[in-house]
Chain length 246, copies 4
């Protein structure tokens, strides 16, 4: 596979590129980053052309640029020639991602992964079950702690949690509180707190090294590459795996 | 219903008696406690005779006494006359409870509730799902924090967690670590910590007031009263409830 | 001592009244509550007149009423006759408490106790030392979790923490973030999170039973009764105790 | 400075070597590791000879080897020629470190750093103050969580905490409980839990990247290099820094 890493000069991007070298089925790695001065629309298109698909970790701003170029490119070419894949790891988008990519899913398989830790999705699945069995008497709060430079709050993951909990538990609609800590460097934490009558349940998922995300995104790229064009949810990815060991 | 509370002078016993007064379907409440000096086997048997069933919160030592008297009584009477119920809320037994009660389940419906918080069982259910989906690469640790006078460690609840996790996830057999804090007064906390590669998940259930247990035990008594003679697990009780609100 | 409990029909007020019965030096207890229909300004004044001093747990609204009546009363009487004391345990005031009570400290000793747990103040003292030794490279976040009916956020205690940390560590001025959970019943928790470079420190103080506050406020009342008229800070109370056992 | 890193092929050792390259005052870096097959006593002595001093992160077993060689070497040479320094970052020793190094402190400045995170020592200082002000009514528990390969429990840091708390608070002698989690990879956490009457305080220090220790040990090496021969405690190092920013 020829893999493009967009945002490849950032902290996470660098780790993806480093780790990708250990993947046998990744033959070529191309890096692009908005920080590069020499970039132009032409170079951007070349980047897309050269790669079978792209992992995007460029941030909300970058994703927009990438999608524009993707669309521009897709509209000019014979769709049959360029079935691409795209794993979007950036968060903080003002629009829904599914909506944002609606114009490119004709010729592109897109996976939106607001969080690339597999265990986090297993965590969410258990949290949803817990919310469903606790029922309407319990208040739910979603909390996240990320580094001081992170601009969006709550985190993309926390938002995803809220949406999922609301859709699985109708009584939680518009009722889930959230809070965020933005401080230091190195804390990557998402928490759900259930408050009942004289009882409280706190569940916390923490990642200590972004290596976890780099590996997760690469594994997702290998999977989405073989999917038909269309929009994919991380839940669909999860279902494709052996998700229950018991 | 005529309800007996064995261990009814202790902290939890007192709360059960207080709360029972608010239950319409509990007509009479009898209290017995090993601390009472005047007790004798005769009085003990009268206690059992007077009640439709008993909630036991007397501690491991007390449960043994109670079961002996129950058995003694059962062996002398016409079983048809005395279908009783028993909710065992004590923990710290050296033998398995199911084994301990095997001689009385001919004429008695017995529910063993090492923890009477309903939400704790929902919590365990989610924890088991999480352990199953995380799989063998994750280490599991069960932790509990209880008051400084509690003698058994780990707590009955923590032990139950370990057994359940081991039976649901064969790879965890003999692999689950545990730790306990015994300190202060008022902390009632059970925690499960999953440790992976650069990731950690911590889930904690805390009860702030033993009112939760008093209410739970009374609700369980109302249910087990109508069950046929036999041994019942708290999971069976849970299944009888509307356990999933979604 | 003749003690008045204003807000004495609320949850905390009831506990204070119950516990006060065990204090040998509290001879008479008077209860007043805004929920009482029959109250009038005359009754309110009688309440103040009858008591040597008052513990206020009526909430921000109530405190204002109480201070108005206090002032009204003080302005009409011979100040020498009525040296009173007042322990303000309510929080959520829109003005600073010291400012609010400025008109009554001529004839009243006032202690503002946004939190009546002694250990919480020892906790704060350690937190301040930690903030001072960690220095400007660490970000500080104050978090609190209280019941779903609590109206003010952050809690009075959290606000006090922020003010104290800012005044002890000039580099934190306007830099301390905060978050609050309002959910369930029974969680009373204040937390300070320090985020550094690949390091994080989390310190949490939790109260499991408002008995702690009832006892704290009664002990404070016994102390402030013997203080000269004026405004007192909980730090001053702390200094009067044997604060360091080592 | 010519710096030796003993245990320099391990995870932490590698990080120290990497980071040392950025230190202007570290001119040469020598690496030695028990995993190297070709090692012999001669090579070991050469290693000591070549370096101005050594950072030891080889583990308890390695430290013993290192001290033997150090002693052997010291006994044969003119002490004036070889004032060396040694920073011991290994833990899990069966003997006290001060005792273990007693034979080499005639010609060597030794700093024992069971934990090289500066903030951890500030944390401990606050914890000690908290224990002192809470007093004898509170129970104290020390907890640590480290990776699944760590052999000693409690951690060297946790042990140090216990000793310090016991010596600062005589009533805690033999009364401090501890627990440890050994699981996963990447959690580096030390916690102190204070349990009172209906109150609990939990303080947790977590390191997310061993970069923190690598930097700490290098900074300590620069300091101990200029100290006179003798045994040094990490507290002495702390005092030499600007420890209080306020």
């Amino acid at each position: 596979m020829r893999l493009g890493v967009f945002g490849g000069l950032g902290r996470l991007g660098t780790k993806i590129v480093d780790l990708a070298k250990n993947y046998n089925n990744i033959d070529e790695i191309y890096v692009m980053d908005l920080k590069q001065k020499e970039q132009s629309i032409k170079i951007f298109k070349d980047f897309i052309l050269k790669c079978d698909g792209i992992i995007d970790v460029s941030g909300a701003q970058g994703t927009k640029c990438l999608l524009d170029t993707f669309l521009d490119y897709g509209s000019q070419c014979d769709p049959k020639l360029l079935k691409k894949f795209l794993v979007i790891g950036s968060t903080g988008h003002t629009l829904g991602v599914q909506e944002m990519v609606s114009n490119i899913i004709g010729f592109c398989s897109v996976l939106y992964a607001p969080n690339a830790s597999l265990s986090l999705w297993n965590f969410l699945r258990s949290i949803v079950l817990l919310a469903q069995t606790l029922g309407p008497d319990w208040d739910v709060h979603v909390h996240d702690h990320h580094h001081k430079f992170k601009k969006d709050a709550p985190s993309g993951t926390a938002l995803y949690f809220i949406q999922h909990l609301e859709s699985a538990c109708p009584w939680l609609k518009q009722k889930i509180q959230w809070s965020s800590i933005r401080g230091g460097i190195g804390v990557i934490l998402n928490s759900v707190i259930f408050s009942g009558n004289c009882e409280v349940i706190q569940c916390t998922h923490q990642v200590m090294d972004t290596y976890v995300f780099a590996k997760g995104l690469l594994d997702m790229a290998l999977w989405i590459q073989n999917c038909e064009a269309g929009y994919y949810d991380v839940q669909q990815y999860l279902l494709s795996l052996k998700v229950n060991f018991a």
